[in-house]
């Protein structure tokens, strides 16, 4: 048993086969010339030993190497990459099977937001007419804490369309530091959600502790490999075409551990990548291929995920933009590239550029939610609760996004038009035409109960002159927060606290 996601049986193919092959050839040419600028000696050694041409240089205060990667090396890496990657979960029914040859799409959260938006209903009085009092959602912004991360993991466990969890709050408590951040963020997540937990590492030195925590939860090293309850995201590429030192070491180590890893590259069209689609897709594809080559050189056959996260620059301040058509071009084309290579794809949709939930956020989010998954990437991250270029997370927005993703999934259903269906509807039409009022209502009832009819928008308000969507979403968040949390067992928590250093005692639900 694993999660179903949504089957996008006829994926949208933005580019023709010839265009896909042209992007591929261009990326290979870019990897040879100008090549990639690598800051990691370990990665350089792997590439050089495999036949890449390497020239040492100096970039500011650091040693670096220009590496020209021959196409044969890329080809070899693509031959050893598995097309199926399993993302495990505390509850095995929540496992995700990513299959680059299949068409199932899974939605998840993300990532690293600095701020948490609190929504609180408050009563406002009209200055013009003091008798006119209204309840509106007041929104406040504050820095995220580890307690917020626990809450968002619990919330995510209860959102039916959320298939995997990437921490959506950057924990900034006074007692969190670089040395204990990773263990606490993974524990806070794993202890509050029964779905897959994916995440980046702040400190390379914490990796062994995080992996050991996962082993305890899965039931040992072998069990963890069969049911990887965690996976990693490595931002190994700094666009354009540079390989970051410490992240490359993480990538190599994760590959050798045999755990799934996302090669994440997030160039910004208009600043760190060409803004035009051809240039963006060729560059980000070359960048992800670089990560895949390093990963496969470190451990042939290691589970790896094609993580292109191309965004566009705003022209007024050069910040990231997510809710624009170019974002959809970039991401749907990248999903096509991943499918061409038969490597599982990690894509992006559902980020609003709006600062708070509302009309702008809904328009931007639905736009990419509806378009990007249509290209059938295996997983879609950033899909819940993110606003303003991923800077804040709002739980109420996550609840709204959950419903909107449900609408998108419904949209992708295959048409049921076949002989037996036509026979059935002909009978119904004949029958209805013999009745006095000629209404089809009674024939909706079974479909209604089998999930064949999409429900009414659940956040609709009762009033005639006020949008109450956010207030209703707030009620839903409150209701979910009151549900019991699915913590790890007391025995597992005890073992983790005994063996993993740096955990905050207040995160232990069994602490006396």
């Amino acid at each position: 048993m694993s999660r179903e996601g949504v089957n996008v049986a006829k994926p949208y193919q933005r580019m023709t086969r010839e265009q896909v092959e042209l992007v591929h050839r261009t990326s290979l040419e870019l990897l040879e010339k100008p090549g990639v600028l690598v800051y990691s000696q370990e990665a350089v050694a792997l590439l050089s030993d495999a036949g890449a041409r390497v020239t040492q240089t100096r970039e500011g205060e650091y040693d670096a190497w220009w590496v020209s990667i021959p196409s044969s090396l890329v080809q070899k890496a693509l031959e050893s990459v598995p097309s199926k990657v399993v993302l495990g979960a505390r509850n095995p029914e929540n496992q995700i099977v990513m299959d680059a040859r299949g068409y199932h799409v899974y939605f998840g959260s993300g990532s690293e937001t600095n701020f948490w938006l609190d929504v609180k209903p408050e009563t406002f009085v009209s200055q013009e007419n003091p008798e006119n009092q209204r309840v509106f959602p007041a929104i406040t912004r504050r820095r995220g804490t580890v307690a917020d991360l626990c809450k968002s993991a619990h919330l995510s466990d209860n959102l039916e369309h959320l298939d995997f969890f990437i921490r959506n709050v950057n924990i900034q408590d006074p007692d969190i530091n670089e040395g204990n951040k990773d263990v606490n963020k993974f524990f806070a997540s794993l202890n509050n959600i029964t779905k897959h937990v994916m995440g980046g590492l702040t400190d390379f030195g914490q990796m062994d502790h995080v992996v050991h925590m996962a082993e305890i939860i899965a039931g040992g090293r072998e069990e963890l490999l069969k049911n990887p309850v965690i996976s990693f995201i490595t931002s190994v590429i700094k666009s354009p075409l540079q390989v970051v030192d410490e992240t490359a070491e993480k990538l190599i180590k994760v590959a050798r551990l045999g755990l799934p890893v996302v090669i994440s590259s997030s160039p910004q069209g208009g600043s760190t990548a060409p803004i035009d689609e051809a240039g963006m897709v060729a560059q980000v594809n070359a960048e992800v291929l670089t990560g895949i080559v390093i990963n496969q050189l470190a451990q042939p056959g290691a589970p790896v995920i094609y993580g292109a996260v191309p965004v566009r620059a705003r022209m007024d301040d050069l910040h990231d933009m997510y809710g624009v058509p170019e974002f959809c071009y970039y991401n749907t084309s990248c999903a096509q590239m991943a499918r061409f290579y038969e490597v599982p794809c990690y894509s992006t949709a559902g980020v609003g550029d709006a600062k708070v939930p509302g009309i702008q956020a809904a328009a931007e989010k639905m736009f990419t939610h509806a378009v990007v998954p249509r290209s059938a990437p295996d997983i879609v991250h950033y899909a819940f609760g993110l606003l303003e270029k991923t800077n804040p997370f709002c739980p109420e927005q996550a609840v709204l996004d959950n419903h909107h993703i449900g609408m998108v999934k419904f949209l992708y259903r295959e048409p049921r038009v076949d002989e037996s269906e036509m026979e059935r509807v002909k009978e119904i039409i004949e029958e209805v035409m013999q009745t006095p009022h000629r209404l089809y209502s009674r024939y909706t009832r079974r479909l209604l109960r089998s999930g064949g009819i999409f429900p009414t928008y659940p956040f609709e308000g009762e009033g005639d002159d006020q949008d109450e969507t956010l207030l209703k979403a707030h009620e839903k968040v409150q209701e979910i927060m009151d549900r019991p949390r699915q913590h790890l067992s007391e025995a597992i928590c005890r073992e983790i606290y005994a063996q993993v250093p740096g955990l905050l005692p207040r995160l232990n639900p069994y602490q006396v």
């Binding site: 006095p436 009022h437 209404l439 209502s441 009674r442 024939y443 909706t444 009832r445 079974r446 209604l448 109960r449």
Partner: protein
């Protein structure tokens, strides 16, 4: 035996099954008798008609109403149940009259006014009123005021329901009421109006007795006036 068939009637009202060909809501009913067949059987067995009405049909509709209120049932469930009860009422009426009763709870004429072809709302109201035990004469759509008044007089209806979806056809509601007044019939019949462009203010303005915002409101108005 009588208890069992009454229970079956209630269950089939809840399923909204008019007859044995109806699919209903839940599995397990396919091919079994629906409300009309069960009512016929009950009457053949000599079960008092009042018992069939009160403990079977009316009780079933009350339960359906409760399920709608609680959010378990939707409009199609209510309509299917009301249709089933309405069809059963057609069978019951001769028995009710024979037993000295008036038959239905009262007579209502329904019509969409002249130059207006819209009938979904009017049909919903008709079905719900029939399901609630009223005898309804539905004149259909695009009915001139003179014809509506003629039928109200002939049928001795206690309530007239007028429907319009277009703001351009709303004046025909007023015209119909004026024609009732001209024929001195207005004191004998109450008039309720409904439809998207209408509201309570408009009802007052044209001399209607009530405005129903939906089919449930229409049933409440009928219960109040008849």
């Amino acid at each position: 035996m009588s208890e069992k068939i009454i229970e079956q009637i209630v269950a089939n009202v809840l399923q909204g099954r008019r007859d044995q060909s109806d699919e209903g809501i839940d599995e397990g009913y396919d091919g079994t008798p629906g409300v009309t067949e069960l009512v016929e059987e009950a009457l053949e067995q000599g079960i008092p008609v009042e018992k069939v009405l009160a403990e079977g049909l009316s009780h079933g509709m009350t339960l359906v109403g409760e399920k709608y209120e609680s959010g378990e049932y939707f409009i199609p469930d209510m309509l299917a149940a009301a249709e089933a009860v309405g069809a059963a009422m057609d069978i019951m009426e001769p028995y009710l009259v024979k037993d000295g009763g008036q038959g239905s709870k009262g007579k209502i004429v329904m019509a969409t006014v002249e130059k207006d072809q819209h009938d979904i709302g009017k049909n919903l109201v008709t079905i719900m009123l029939k399901g609630a035990g009223y005898a309804v004469v539905d004149l259909g759509v695009n009915v001139p005021a003179s014809r509506i008044v003629e039928v109200v007089e002939k049928e001795k209806a206690g309530l007239l329901g007028l429907s319009a979806l277009l703001d351009t056809t709303m004046p025909f509601m007023k015209q119909t009421i004026e024609e009732l007044e001209n024929k001195n019939l207005k004191d004998n019949v109450r008039v309720m109006i409904g439809g998207a462009p209408t509201n309570e203010d408009f009802a007052r303005e044209i001399g209607a007795d009530a405005h129903g915002k939906d089919a449930f409101a229409a049933v409440k108005i009928a219960d109040q006036f008849l």
